[in-house]
Symmetry: none
């Protein structure tokens, strides 16, 4: 019936389903049904269920991330480089928003998958491009939050009336702001000492109450 595009169609439908219902709740039977083929057909194109998710993640997330890392390795570790990393990461995420949402919401499942390890290491490598090994804790937090912000925003702002391009820009802006702050901290103070506790108008995290249970 349809020509050689079945493989692609499987990936599309599978990703849709994985993102909507979660990885474990999405059965191959359902995917096949929605495609109008038999389960066995899926197995003609992919060796296992995991293989399907691998092929998707690899193309839409792992490779793009690897490309960013590869590019960044040949750049000086300047602030501008870091901001460009964020820009590119933002581009990659928005290019495969459904997939990144899936990965974020299915981290537990991803952890059991081989590709999960791969992605984790990619993300940590990106993180290492942004942060200083021995920066103050708060700066480390800023850098991971920057990354998180970029891929979580499409989801957290999903009910807000704005184009996804606008949301992406907003997320990128905040992420860059966080990384910029961390970078400047790294240049100002020399050791763990002066860093961390915010200056520049940010109120100290005065812990007064805190109980919540």
């Amino acid at each position: 019936m349809s020509r050689g595009n079945t493989r692609q169609r499987i990936q599309d439908v599978a990703l849709e389903m994985f993102a909507e219902r979660g990885y474990e709740k999405s059965s191959l039977r359902e995917i096949a049904e929605q495609l109008g083929v038999t389960k066995a057909a899926l197995y003609y194109h992919f060796k296992t269920k995991e293989d399907i998710v691998i092929s998707i993640v690899d193309d839409l997330a792992a490779k793009p991330c690897a490309a960013i890392v590869a590019w960044a390795e040949h750049q000086p570790r300047t602030l501008e480089t870091k901001l460009e990393v964020l820009r590119r990461y933002s581009g990659a995420v928005s290019h495969a928003a459904r997939l990144f949402r899936f990965m974020q919401e299915n981290q537990a499942a991803m952890r059991e998958l081989s590709i999960g390890e791969t992605m984790k290491s990619h993300i940590f490598t990106l993180l290492d491009l942004l942060r200083d090994e021995d920066a103050a804790l708060a700066d480390q937090v800023r850098c991971s939050s920057a990354l998180f912000t970029i891929h979580a925003t499409p989801y957290t702002l999903r009910e807000i009336g704005a184009t996804s391009e606008e949301k992406r820009k907003a997320a990128l802006e905040v992420a860059q702001e966080l990384v910029t702050r961390a970078h400047q901290d790294g240049e100002a103070g020399t050791t763990e000492t002066a860093k961390g506790a915010g200056t520049r108008g940010t109120p100290k995290a005065a812990e007064t109450t805190g109980s919540a249970a």
Copy 2:
């Protein structure tokens, strides 16, 4: 063997397993096995598998969040109130770190559970306490990132050598910084106009390159 604390032990072991392996991958058989009881015993204490997770989430996350919301509703919508909300939320999270990690990594599974809806609405209510309905997009992002930062940090910084209390403080600091910024933006400009695009030394999110594939 053990006294009438079986119910509690089930919750403990279940949470451990859910957090470690994911909700769907944790079978009642395994939980029972690790407890040294039979599956049927679980059913004496809980009506369903979902019931177990509900009971845990309810005690350790839903109620604490509800308490924060209840408290905040009687407070003025000042910056100080917002910071206190973060403080309390940080306290709640650190009090049930494994559970929050579980919820974050199993969002897909949570979505299918009744308690998932509940938690989602709690989080969104908290968010609404922090942000202005019609604030600039970037400020909305800042507020959700603040929340995210608080419950994601234990995980993202898990390989860093620092006590979890230190990490918590760092996360709280960054979260408060983000909310403070958003709050000040809200007071400065009146409408969507002047807001958003960062001033105060943050570089404009100049999108130059961006390709990543």
Copy 3:
């Protein structure tokens, strides 16, 4: 319905089926159907399909063989001991004729099963009780044929009109005769020299024709 005998019934029906149709051709569905239970019930009593076969072989073949070996180890390596080994082995085989038939006809399947290894080593240990490490080839053959004869006879003579007890006695007789011959050879000659080529009226294996294709 039926009391605690389900486990036993599963073993019975399974063995019947395995022997009749072969291991791989016997599906758990069929076994369950014939028992009037569901497949899942089988899994309550046995961890896997292999587990069923293991439990049967272990009780009816492995343990009896081990017992023979254990007994023989404390006996002098005389002819009489060897003949007694055969006698006991014959008893074990006739006690679980269907199982031995199954094992013989499903050696390929057995080889993939963990219990297959176990049984193989039992048989080889028995063989080592009968034969001399460095006996002439023909005597080694006699000893293995003796063992083979005992468990193959119920099958090869199955269409002959005689009680199985009569057949068993006949098989045992031939087996003992073979082992006796091998034993006497071992005592007569000292090295590979004089042994092997039969005396006592047996015609030399004069190879004249031999082509068959």
Copy 4:
């Protein structure tokens, strides 16, 4: 790549696999993979999986056996004829050792195959050439053991350091010895009476102990 010999190569690889893994455990996918062709290619050369095994057995076992039978039918039923039958059978077996091993280890699978019936009847015909319809039971046993010995020996002696030709000769020798004995018994006694219970130094199968559990 290879010339028009694909059909032959399929048979070779298939036999190898069947012998190594068993008939049911050998899938056409694996066979095709090892050959570097697709499953469909197998179907160009053979109608079914069974067809492959049939073609192999037919050439390497059924026809040679039939030839032996055909030859023997025109011979007098003397001892010398019987010994020659064994000689020829031994030749056939050693010429297709892997196949005979396969058939022996996969009797359960063979039974379901049409060629299984064929082979069974060949073997029984051969048996009938060796034994007397109404010989004593023990003599019947001797004759079937003779046949068994010939095709089982390559396997039972597989760990012994000797050439396969040496093993074959040893097996043949024992087989001939067994048949000779049976033949002589047949001539001595006239009816069931005097036969069976061994004379010539073989100890009577005195059943004393026999317990094995």
